[in-house]
Each structure stands twice: as structure tokens, then as C-alpha cells.
């Protein structure tokens, strides 16, 4: 079973803190791997400028792969500004084919509109991924985006953190999400480890999505670039969030209505029932079948926790103005924000979406039975 931890704070902190929260929840997972995402990144050795620079995260398994990567990045017009060298202790890593953990900062290409750049970054990431796959999987790329660093590795989460010396405060971030398992239902594969990432949107999940295959087939049928991979049943959550917010351009709250719509009889008395009834039918192939708790982060550092409709997966959110934590277990929240008032911890039920807004002043607890703001015409 997966355990999840997310911390969001006004001041950058070490990702190791989140790994310690994972350690607190250690009885809940098998420790077969770690997936880590950082946002609001700060390097000790480099003054990172998110508005002008993007970060590539991944693993080059051979020297040759790294040199191919260099070639591709150059040909795509990316100028390297910083190459983060982890202090690696290889003896703590199970795998033997890790030539270099890549966290590299590149200058954004000039003269590109926002939407054009977003697509360009994603296509570059997909190109690198494809290149790795064509060469026996010697290059793995997790993210290529502004202000996002991702690490995925096989092994016990805290040991992976030790192996990469994540405690050394050379990388810190305002948002860190971590997940402690390689894969639930399918083969072990670095790409199968949550969190998943597409165009700035990232999610991680605990639990099994048994509706995976029909959802995957539907998403693949949309022929949207980046809707691929699917080594894990949880990857569809990321793509659905991307689809709802980026493609359908609907508010964040609607995600909940898409993946776990209310029942028809409940929608009858909902203020937006007419619209939601139609949406439920149009998006019925995206209804998930958990139990799942989905934790997401967005480019503006908004964090979100969505409960599945069965409410059979645990998740707790707690914290204080300026610092919030979401974890599978209360002890995880306790480890991340020990100085909060636990009486205000909240465990969402089946209808809830919890949103930590970028200002981190207070939690938004939104229930599906409440209306949300839609563009005027709707």
C-alpha cells in the first residue's frame, strides 16, 4: 500500500523533512521506492530564477545517454545554466545502473508565448523519454518545467534520501510531495512511481484505481500529447486533472465532480445540478473507482486533496497559517508540522476537496454539494 506525504510552507524547507514523515508512516508501505516532487525550489549553490529558467529532472543510466541528452537539449535550443550534483552514496542505492541523477537548470528559450512554451517543454520531455526508451531505457526523464524538481528511485524512501544526501539543504522547496512505493499493481518501473507529472500538474495517489483500463483507453483515444505511459493505474489521475483544468478549462473543484460525480438523486437538489448531470454523463468514462485519496499540486503552488467516493482510503490534513501538511496518516502530519493544533486536523469525507491556496493562510474545505464558480455563460 502507498503512503503519501505533502508539505507546503511559505519558507523553503528540506525535502528530508517529508522523508522523515514517510518514515513515521513506515508501517503502511513496503518501501519499494520513492517518488518526490519539489516546487518553489531553492538551490544553495545557484540563484534560480523561475520566470526565466526551467528545470529538467531524470536519470541518465549511462554516460552515452547523458551525452545524447546534451545533444538533444542543445538542438532544442536550451542553454544549460546549472547542473546540480548530488552527493551520492551509491552503496545505499539498490540499482547499479545510475550514471547520473539529473537536476539541471536551463534558460527558457526566448520569444515564445506561454502556451507555446508549455507545449515545447512537454514535447522536449517526451522526446527525451522516447530517446531513452529507444535505447533500452538508458534515459529516464521525470519532469521538465519551471520550478519543479522530481526524483524517483527504487528502495526504502529514507535510504534514498540518504543516498542522495537530501538532508544537506542544498535543495530546498516550498512544496514537497513524496510517495513511498514503486508500483501497486503493475511491473516495477521508474516511470510507474508517483507522483506523475504533466505540464506543471502533478498528482500522487494511494489505493488502486480499478477503473484504470477503461479510463486509460479513453485518455489515449483523445490523442492528446503526453497522455501516455500508464505504467501505473494512478497516472490517469494526473491526466484527468490536466484534462479538466487545461483542456476543458474548468475550475479546480470540477475535478471532484468528474472523478467522483454525485449520484443523480443528489444532483437533483444541487444548485448546479443541471450542468453537473450533463457533465457526469459526458465525462462518465473518467469516473474513478477507488478507493483513492488523490493529492495534487499545481504550478501556482496550490495543493489539493480529493477523496474518493467510497472513502476507504485514509488522509489527514493539518497545519497552521503558513505551513500545511497532507498525509495518509495523522502521524505523518504530526511529523511534518508538530507545532500545529491537532484539534484542527481535518479528515475529508467522500464529498470533500481540500485546497491549500498559494497564500497558505487557511485551508479551503469545499464540499461537492456546494456550488462552485463557473464562467458566466454556464
Amino acid at each position: 500500500m502507498c503512503r503519501l506525504a505533502l508539505k507546503s510552507s511559505d519558507t523553503p524547507f528540506s525535502p528530508y523533512e517529508v522523508l522523515l514523515a514517510m518514515e513515521a508512516m513506515q508501517e503502511g508501505y513496503d518501501g519499494s521506492g520513492l517518488g518526490l516532487l519539489m516546487r518553489g525550489v531553492q538551490f544553495a549553490d545557484f540563484n534560480y530564477e523561475p520566470e526565466n529558467q526551467v528545470i529538467l529532472s531524470g536519470i541518465a543510466h549511462t554516460e552515452e545517454a547523458l551525452s545524447r541528452l546534451n545533444g538533444i537539449m542543445e538542438s532544442r535550443g536550451f542553454e544549460q545554466k546549472y547542473d546540480h550534483e548530488f552527493t551520492v552514496r551509491p552503496e545505499l542505492i539498490e540499482a547499479r545502473d545510475r550514471f547520473k541523477y539529473i537536476v539541471r537548470v536551463y534558460k527558457k528559450p526566448a520569444d515564445m508565448e506561454e502556451a507555446q512554451l508549455e507545449d515545447y517543454l512537454m514535447h522536449t520531455r517526451l522526446m527525451l523519454r522516447r530517446d531513452g526508451e529507444e535505447h533500452g531505457g538508458d534515459l529516464t526523464v521525470f519532469s521538465f518545467w519551471s520550478d519543479v524538481v522530481m526524483i524517483k528511485e527504487v528502495g526504502w524512501p529514507l535510504e534514498v534520501g540518504d543516498a542522495l544526501s537530501l538532508f544537506d539543504n542544498r535543495i530546498m522547496a516550498r512544496v514537497v510531495m513524496a510517495q513511498g512505493r514503486q508500483n501497486t499493481n503493475y511491473g516495477i518501473n521508474l516511470y510507474a512511481c508517483h507522483p506523475f507529472f504533466i505540464q506543471g500538474i502533478s498528482t500522487m495517489t494511494n489505493g488502486e484505481n480499478t477503473a484504470f483500463v477503461p479510463i486509460k483507453e479513453w485518455l489515449e483515444g483523445k490523442n492528446i500529447p503526453g497522455y501516455m505511459g500508464y505504467q501505473s493505474d494512478s497516472e490517469v489521475f494526473t491526466h484527468i486533472l490536466h484534462y479538466v483544468t487545461k483542456k476543458l478549462k474548468l475550475p479546480l473543484e470540477v475535478y471532484k465532480h468528474v472523478i467522483t460525480p454525485l449520484k443523480p438523486e443528489e444532483l437533483e437538489s444541487h444548485p448546479q445540478g443541471d450542468f453537473l448531470q450533463g457533465l457526469r454523463i459526458a465525462c462518465r468514462r473518467l469516473i474513478i473507482d477507488g478507493p483513492n485519496a488523490v493529492i495534487a499540486t499545481l504550478p501556482d503552488e496550490t495543493c489539493m486533496l480529493v477523496m474518493d467516493a467510497k472513502k476507504m482510503r485514509p488522509a489527514t490534513v493539518g497545519g497552521k497559517p503558513g505551513t500545511w501538511a497532507i498525509a495518509s496518516e495523522m502521524c505523518g502530519v504530526q511529523a511534518m508540522v508538530p507545532d500545529r493544533d491537532p484539534a484542527f486536523d481535518f479528515q475529508p469525507m467522500r464529498e470533500h476537496t481540500v485546497i491549500i491556496p498559494p497564500d497558505r493562510k487557511e485551508l479551503l474545505i469545499w464540499t461537492q454539494f456546494d456550488p462552485f464558480t463557473l464562467p458566466q455563460a454556464a
Binding site: E208, T210, A211, P214, G221, N223, G278, R284, P291
Partner: protein
């Protein structure tokens, strides 16, 4: 002793041992009450006087002679038209268990002589091939309880319903919603639908019982079951009743009953569930509907607007239109318009390798509300035996390839596919239906199973009964003769409808719970399916398990 004289036989002279069913009569138990001969739907048996010679030898007087005993017994006709059909009504009325049909374990001869007077064999029922079907052999093998907390079929909430009607892609839905444009009508229904059986094919009591049961399922049990009329229209009192919303009205190539329906539109209290345009039927592809004259009673004639007692063969295609594409397009559009674009309209076709062509046509038709594909194992009230046994396409692979075609186009959410033809053939109705749903069907239609489970239809795939076409149904299910259909109490049928759907609902949960599914019907969840035949597994693109 009589000598064997020159024997005159006709080519079709058969003895009782040549028949598919042999009547076993125990004279020691028989009370000669005559009920069996009275009830037999085909007059296969008769009471007769027989003489038995008893040789007598008086040894002391050195005389030999004969004595003759007379007795009354029950005998079996051997002519083709009166051959026993194995229905077993004689056993059911016999007070002493003295009589009953026994299947002929040897091959029988009647198949060679069914075509008397050049009339090819017509019958009711479905393809006479018995044994486990492909659907029966599919197992649900992706048990998620091992990786996730188990669902409890008895306690958790399950969302079991499906959507009938055209579903827009999300982008298009939002665009139209914003612009205030037309959104195609949809219905949320129970995925097991009572398939088309016409008022004409079924007796009034059967029809009434089904409708009562369907209304009870909807209004009391909360199971939104819908039933489809066949071609023969719908009684005016139903058309003008609030129960019309549970009914899918069928229009077929004979257009029988549609005068009444069109006239009733202004008086309708609610819209029908949907309109089904029949282009084909799994039991007899290429044939139109057939209601034989025996069943065209006064009531049926009035409903269909035809004279009494004439055969009613519908043409194989919709005659008024030039091409199938045009036909499909115009009929769907016309019928949508007739009901104010508030009712889903979809075609029903027979399983065929050309089903994909129809489907691709429908995908491009913005008014098409679905596609129903009826496989070779579908039943019918009347058809030529050769059509039933040898014409058509099994549903499993046909449905699967259509679904996968939609998947390849990313349109699988838009045109719901419904499957029919052999669902519950061997009684495994929920298993068969759920297998098809996981292969990609949005729901299934079942007719024969409903007759068997809800009304006690005796027909089987070993040639038992199969006389729906003649109006002599011994259970009163497919007869228009009041003396026969009064045997069937509509209340009992309604009770069985409720029993059947309650049980299907429970079994659906029992299948879905171990798969970890409860939030939506697992349409296309092919990763949950396995079959013990590698070739079939490959064809259906599911797992081979052994």
C-alpha cells in the same frame, strides 16, 4: 399369428422411435382421465382402444385357441405435424405420473421430413446449439481484494446503471451548454433490458405481466428496468399511460402499430424510454419480422391495422428508402423529430461482420443514440430454421471488435453499444451480461431468458417445444388464444420479473465487488476477463487462463 404382409410405407412414414421425443406411458398407472390428450398442444397423443391376443392352450383337452383382451391406452401420433415436441404438458396435468416425453437418445428422423408440402421448417426459439457458450466460459479474474480493501456486495453502495443515448465529448458538451444548444437526450437505465418481443408475438397476459413487473422494479424496487416492444406497436392504453417511460418503442420494416403510436403522441403523458429502429435481428438476419396467421387475432389485427388471420411477414429492409446510410440517417432524424428531440433513437442490427460499417456510419450521425447488436443466439417468435441455426454472427467477438473500433477512434463514450443474442442461454444471465459489459457493451438485451425465467417458457436448444410461431404455446406465453393464455397469470409474471431483476442486481454486485468496482458500471474493463481458450482470448483481446 398374422403374417407380415406387404408393407406400404411413404417416404415420410415414421415410427414413434424415429421421433425426437418418445411418449412413455405407464398403463398400470393411467386412470384414463384424458387430461394429457386434451392438453397436448400438438395433439401428439390420443386415447385408443386396442386389442391384445392372448394365446390359449388347453393341454388336457388338447385344444389350442385364442382369447382377446381389449384395453384403452394412450398412443403417439407419428405424423410430422403431430410429432411430440417434448413440452411435457402431459406430465404436468397427469394425476398419476403415468405419462411424459422422453428424449430420443438416438438421432431422430424428423429433421429430414420437416419440409412437408415444400414448406421449409419454421419454428420459434433460438439457434439449436446446446452447451456452454463463449460467454459462459469467461471468468472474472482480476480480484482486487488482494491489493485493496474489499468491497462488500451486501453493504456498499453500487452504481449499476448505464446510459442510453448519445453522449457528447466533454468539449462539445461544454460548448453547447454555454451556447444553449441542443444536448442529445439520454436515459439512465438498468443495463439488463427486456429485449424486443412484440405485442403479437407475446400473449396479452405475458405483456401485461412484464409491464407490471417493470413498473414495480422502477417504482418500488428502484431498479430502472426498461422493456422494448417488438415491431407490433403498443396498446393505446399503455401509450397514454405514465408507464410509457419504461418502454422502448420499436419501429421495424413492416411499420406495424405505428399509426396508433403516431396518433397517440399528442395524448402521451410522458416520453418513451427510447425508439429502436430494427434493421436486423440476430435470430434471422436478412429476414423481416414474421407473425404467422395463427396469432393474428382480432386484438392483434386491430392493433396492427390489418385483417384478422393473415400471415404478417415484414420486409427484410425498410422499403421506403434508397440506401442503408440514407435510411439510417433519415429514420433516426425523423423519429427524433417526432418526439421533439427528447427521446434517444438507435438502430438494432443483427450481428454481422459488417456491423462496424454501420457503427462508423452512426458515429458520424449526431442524432444516433446507440447501437444494439443482436447475435446469432438471439431468439425469435417465428423464423425459418435455417436462418436461426446458420445465419448470423456470435455476439461476443462482434461486440468486442465494434467496441475496440470505437476505442481506436476515442469515441467509446459517445455511442453506447448494447449487446443481445444468447444472454442467459444457459441460465447464467448476470455472468453473460457482465462479461459483455466488460468487453465493451453498455448494456444487454434479453428476451428468451425473460420468457424462460419470468413465464416458464419450456423451450430449449435441444428442440424442445420451439412452437412459438404456431400460437399454441402450452404456457400461454406466445399465444393469442384466450384458452391458452389464461393459463398465465400476469401477477405471477410480474412477481417473477421482480424476482429476476432483484437477483440480477445482487449478482452484479457479487461480480463487481471482488473486482473493486462500485462507482460505475465496468464498461470495457477487459483487464478483468479471462477465458480458458487461447484463440478466443486472442480474438477478444482478453487474458488466456488455464
Amino acid at each position: 399369428m398374422d403374417s407380415v404382409r406387404s408393407v406400404y410405407t411413404t417416404p415420410s412414414s415414421l415410427t414413434y422411435c424415429d421421433l425426437p421425443w418418445i411418449i412413455q406411458h405407464r398403463e398400470d398407472r393411467c386412470t384414463l382421465c384424458g387430461r394429457c390428450t386434451a392438453v397436448c398442444p400438438v395433439n401428439a397423443i390420443y386415447l385408443t382402444y386396442r386389442r391384445q391376443r392372448v394365446p390359449k392352450l388347453d393341454v388336457l383337452k388338447k385344444k389350442r385357441g385364442n382369447e382377446y383382451r381389449h384395453f384403452v391406452g394412450i398412443r403417439q401420433h407419428t405424423s410430422i405435424e403431430k410429432k411430440c415436441i417434448g413440452c411435457g404438458m402431459c406430465s404436468s396435468v397427469c394425476p398419476n405420473e403415468a405419462i411424459g416425453p422422453v428424449p430420443n437418445t438416438n438421432e431422430h428422423r424428423t429433421v429430414f421430413h420437416q419440409n412437408q408440402k415444400g414448406d421449409a421448417w419454421k419454428r420459434g426459439g433460438r439457434r439449436n446449439r446446446s452447451g456452454a457458450t463463449i460467454l459462459d466460459r469467461i471468468a472474472f479474474d482480476r480480484i482486487s481484494m488482494l491489493t485493496d480493501p474489499a468491497l462488500d456486495a451486501g453493504r456498499h453502495e453500487f452504481s449499476l446503471n448505464t446510459i442510453l443515448g448519445r453522449v457528447l465529448p466533454p468539449e462539445e458538451f461544454l460548448r453547447r451548454k454555454m451556447a444553449g444548444e441542443w444536448i442529445p437526450p439520454t436515459r439512465e437505465i438498468f443495463p439488463f433490458v427486456i429485449g424486443s418481443m412484440s405485442f403479437g408475438a407475446l400473449s396479452p397476459n405475458m405483456w401485461l405481466g412484464l409491464l407490471q413487473g417493470v413498473a414495480y422494479c422502477n417504482e418500488v424496487l428502484g431498479i430502472p428496468v426498461v422493456m422494448a416492444t417488438g415491431e407490433g406497436g403498443c396498446p393505446p392504453w399503455v401509450l397514454k399511460s405514465p408507464f410509457l417511460k419504461y418502454i422502448i418503442l420499436q419501429i421495424a420494416s413492416g411499420y406495424f402499430g405505428w399509426d396508433e403510436i403516431i396518433r397517440a403522441i399528442p395524448d402521451m403523458q410522458c416520453d418513451p424510454a427510447a425508439i429502436e429502429i430494427k434493421y436486423g435481428q440476430g435470430a434471422k438476419p436478412g429476414d423481416g419480422g414474421l407473425l404467422m396467421w395463427f396469432k393474428v387475432s382480432n386484438l392483434i389485427a386491430r392493433l396492427r391495422g390489418v385483417p384478422e388471420g393473415v400471415d404478417l411477414p415484414s420486409p427484410p429492409v425498410h422499403q421506403t428508402l434508397y440506401s442503408i446510410e440514407e435510411s439510417v440517417m433519415k429514420m433516426i432524424q425523423t423519429l427524433s423529430m417526432a418526439f421533439g428531440f427528447r427521446v434517444p433513437v438507435y438502430p438494432k442490427i443483427s450481428g454481422s461482420t459488417s456491423a462496424k460499417a454501420v457503427l462508423n456510419n452512426l458515429v458520424r450521425n449526431p442524432y444516433a443514440g446507440g447501437l444494439l447488436i443482436d447475435g446469432i443466439d438471439g431468439g425469435t417468435g417465428a423464423a425459418y430454421n435455417v436462418s436461426m441455426d446458420a445465419t448470423g454472427h456470435p455476439i461476443a467477438s462482434n461486440l468486442r471488435e465494434c467496441y475496440q473500433d470505437l476505442v481506436a477512434q476515442g469515441r467509446q463514450n459517445e455511442i453506447p453499444l448494447f449487446a443481445a443474442g444468447g444472454i442467459g442461454k444457459n441460465g447464467n444471465v448476470t455472468q453473460n451480461g457482465m462479461a459483455l459489459i466488460m468487453l465493451g457493451a453498455s448494456g444487454v438485451h434479453m428476451g428468451k431468458y425473460i420468457m424462460q425465467a419470468c413465464a416458464g417458457c419450456l423451450g430449449n436448444e435441444k428442440g424442445r417445444c420451439n412452437v412459438c410461431n404456431l400460437g399454441i404455446c402450452p404456457k400461454g406465453i406466445t399465444s393469442q388464444n384466450p384458452k391458452l393464455y389464461r393459463r398465465l397469470d400476469p401477477d405471477d409474471v410480474a412477481q417473477r420479473v421482480a424476482d429476476v431483476f432483484t437477483a440480477i442486481r445482487t449478482e452484479m454486485k457479487k461480480i463487481m465487488a471482488p473486482l473493486g468496482r462500485s462507482q460505475s458500471l465496468p464498461i470495457g474493463m477487459s483487464d478483468a476477463l479471462g477465458i480458458d481458450d487461447a484463440d478466443v482470448a486472442q480474438r477478444l483481446n482478453i487474458k488466456y487462463i488455464c
